[in-house]
Symmetry: C2
Subunit: 279 residues, 2 copies
């Protein structure tokens, strides 16, 4: 892995370059951006997509899902045989399907680090972003070629936890642990915006409301691609959530049934305790 | 205000005593607890309810709503005329109604600091808990007697922001900014607990899920009283939330309509930005 191209230099791509350097990667890191920009010191230089694809051993596609798919459709014709093409896209089924169709000369490895934030862009990139975070990997071939093993080792070295998974299980899993929480937060802001002035809410709320609205600040372009590419799993989970909250709403219909909320409350409490346990 | 009784020495009551001392209050602080306990150094001593009521100029009721109401029903017979009786209860209509019926010799001032956490109990009490937080007040008489003005001054001195409000507007407001976010978090854990093992979710999630589940860890005894005493306003807001999320769910029904989610997404984004702005 003498040359790595990072295509899409935002929160994830920028942080990846910084973390590779911090952890001792001494090869070339080429940054590829849609528009001209200043690259952080971790990058060796900027490059156009075609040159980066031709000169790199590893290409990491770090943009929203639809852009990753567009890059997958054109990258294989540009790379040397055996080049590793990997990505950090939030959903995996559509990407793996595109990769299986279009990547023949290169080797494709699906990837997804659980390191996103409600803010995006290079200005939020930082060292240590991946520390302690899960990084999903989806194989296209077995056994793993050396370049795959080497890249996954680097992912471990920057502090992430590699997790091997199938694309369908990945998408079902993130629908639960990432996409549902996003829409739950989004709907909270959308519903409240109809009932209360945000400045009044801000003046009167405690810490719970702003915390529950953090995800709602996320970027639509990223989420449009996620919602589109994982629509069915997300819809199913939102349906289950609506049923759970609808049950609670029903129990508010008279004073005597409020006590029935206790079961869901305590089930949720126990679930939250485990999820939120310090590692 | 030479003697203050704090009835219920948990997160709010304990922190109030610590903050009064930190900010220079030199009078007596009596702690009243249901069971024998060690009091933090901020307290002068523990006392039984009857003695504390008889000897204090200000009595602060710091327990869940139903216990506050039970204390209001018995306190007036014990106090000296003109004693300030105030509270930190999460809802105000039921409490103000009890106070208007039962408090005749004392002066009642409804109170509610927005300083709760998902954890409760004296072990989480700390100095500075009230700093920057709204502290709602509901009057029973005008103009404010000197003891009310003095207590509200102390609330400002410990860093809270006194906000005067009517009880109905208070309860409508906290249904939006506190009670809805709580149930949204509770339903998230309750729904996910049916679909995924919490240990697996913990291993695979990013930071969003644990943050969205923080409120779900809250104490049921506190929330049973809140849900019971503000049932109708909460039910209305949960209904509006279900409608907002239901609309989003409907837009996931086919790929072409996903773009329609944008409007709700951006409305929520803007709302969240204002609510979450640094003070």
């Amino acid at each position: 892995m003498e040359t790595v191209a990072i295509v899409g230099v935002g929160l994830l791509g920028g942080s990846l370059a910084m973390d590779l350097r911090r952890c001792g990667y001494a090869g070339r890191i080429l940054g590829v951006s849609r528009s001209p920009r200043e690259y952080p010191a971790a990058f060796s230089s900027g490059a156009v997509f075609e040159r980066a694809a031709a000169e790199s051993d590893v290409i990491v596609l770090c943009s929203p899902v639809q852009s990753i798919i567009a890059d997958i459709e054109r990258v294989d014709a540009l790379v040397r045989p055996g080049t590793l093409i990997t990505d950090v896209g939030s959903t995996k089924s559509a990407i793996m399907s595109a990769a299986r169709t279009h990547v023949k000369r290169g080797v494709f490895l699906g990837g997804h680090p659980m390191a996103g934030k409600h803010v995006s862009g290079l200005e939020h990139a930082c060292e240590g972003l991946y520390s302690g975070k899960a990084w999903f990997f989806v194989r296209t071939i077995e056994p793993d070629p050396p370049v795959v093993r080497e890249f996954v080792e680097w992912v471990g070295r920057i502090g992430a936890r590699p997790l091997w998974i199938g694309e369908e299980e990945h998408d079902r899993s993130v629908a639960m642990t990432s996409h549902l929480p996003q829409l739950v937060s989004t709907a909270l802001g959308a519903a409240l915006a109809r009932s209360v002035d945000p400045g009044v809410a801000r003046q009167r709320c405690g810490q719970g409301l702003p915390d529950m609205l953090r995800l709602a600040e996320s970027d639509w372009a990223l989420w449009r691609d996620i919602l589109t590419s994982n629509r069915l799993e997300i819809r199913r989970m939102v349906g289950e959530y609506l049923a759970a909250l609808g049950e609670i709403e029903g129990m508010l219909s008279d004073a005597a049934s409020v006590e029935e909320i206790r079961e869901a409350f305590e089930r949720s409490q126990e679930f939250a305790r485990v999820v939120r346990e310090k590692r």
